[in-house]
């Protein structure tokens, strides 16, 4: 396992991942007026990120494709209501996140509200790291290892981690998407990173023991 010796950058200096896309605004207007080619263009511009979000949240290709389909059908129904108050990708992601959360509720979280579904059960929480012996992760994580660790995060942590650290959304955008507070988004992200550290360190210890 190796990823080279790149220096960690400050955690708050996050690169934006959703810059405006050339031709998108025009395609939105045309799609709002029923232009099917414009809708197809929007699909091709955003299918990868929507699918990736669904796949990370469900860990199953068939389900992820079903939900990607559902998200774009919802887009087709609702595109007329997009007013441009937020970036289109943020708006579409909010829609996709709702589709994913609805699906997760149907699978077993039916009694849980959106805010609560973002709160993992107590046992899943990361531990405070007071007095633990040191073992730094720097230089030791590759894509596959991290991907596996993310899969093992509780859904609420995973969603905020993917939206912020992977997709590059800001906390205010995530709060808007998930209908939660900015503080809640920040707190979930921190807990997600702490839990990931725990999972990655556990993995390293197991490897060293072999």
């Amino acid at each position: 396992m190796s990823t080279g010796d790149t220096e960690p950058i400050p955690i708050n200096q996050h690169m934006r991942r959703n810059p405006p896309i050339e031709g998108e605004a025009e395609a939105i207007t045309k799609a709002q007026n029923g232009d099917s080619e414009a809708f197809e263009l929007l699909y091709s511009l955003h299918k990868r990120r929507v699918y990736s979000l669904c796949l990370r949240m469900l860990g199953n290709i068939a389900e992820a494709e079903d939900l990607t389909q559902e998200a774009f059908l919802q887009l087709y129904r609702k595109i007329g209501t997009f007013r441009g108050d937020s970036a289109f990708s943020t708006w579409l992601h909010r829609l996709a996140v709702n589709v994913v959360l609805m699906h997760l509720r149907k699978k077993g979280l039916t009694q849980i509200s959106l805010e609560e579904s973002l709160e993992p059960v107590q046992d899943d929480g990361p531990r405070k790291d007071v007095g633990a012996r040191d073992l730094t992760l720097a230089g030791s994580i590759d894509r596959v290892t991290l991907e596996r660790a993310v899969e093992n995060l509780p859904p609420g942590y995973r969603l905020v981690f993917v939206l912020h650290d992977v997709e590059g959304y800001e906390h205010n955008e995530i709060a808007d998407m998930l209908a939660c507070s900015i503080g809640n988004s920040k707190s979930q992200l921190h807990k997600a990173r702490m839990k990931l550290r725990e999972l990655l360190r556990t993995g390293e210890r197991k490897e060293q023991a072999v």
Binding site: T3, T6, P8, I9, P10, I11, N12, Q13, H14, M15, R17, P20, I28, T29, Y43, K47, R48, R49, Y51, S52, E65, T68, Q69, F72, L73, Y76, R77, K78, G80, T81, R83, G84, D85, A87, K128, D129, V130, G131, A132, D134, L135, T136, L137, A138, I141, D142, R143, L146, E147, V150, D165, V166, K186, S187, L189, H190, R193, M194, R197, L200
Partner: protein
């Protein structure tokens, strides 16, 4: 008589707990963590900060790589054509693009 070593250890633990409670806000504020007094004297918390920064950096490795299969678009098209009436669009609002 107070055990000096245990007192120091407890104080350090309290400092660590306090520091880690503040950590989410410190990260988000963009503060220079290298200048933090506790961090300069606590190797455990320094390692924690390094790890969390490293995890956030490595998360970029997870950018989407795969597209859904072509079947997804075929199904979307079919659903729109088949259920066109049921998929009646919601009211349009005046468009205001950024």
């Amino acid at each position: 008589m107070t055990d000096k070593r245990s007192f120091t250890k407890d104080t350090t633990k309290m400092d660590c707990a306090h520091f880690q409670e503040r950590l989410p806000e410190l990260f988000e504020s963009g503060a220079d963590l290298g200048a933090d007094e506790h961090l300069r004297s606590c190797s455990n918390c320094a390692a924690l900060v390094r790890d969390l920064e490293y995890i956030a950096q490595q998360a970029k490795l997870l950018l989407p790589l795969h597209d859904p299969s072509p079947t997804v678009w075929t199904n979307i098209q079919s659903a729109i054509q088949r259920d066109g009436v049921n998929l009646e669009r919601e009211n349009k609002s005046p468009v205001k693009h950024p």
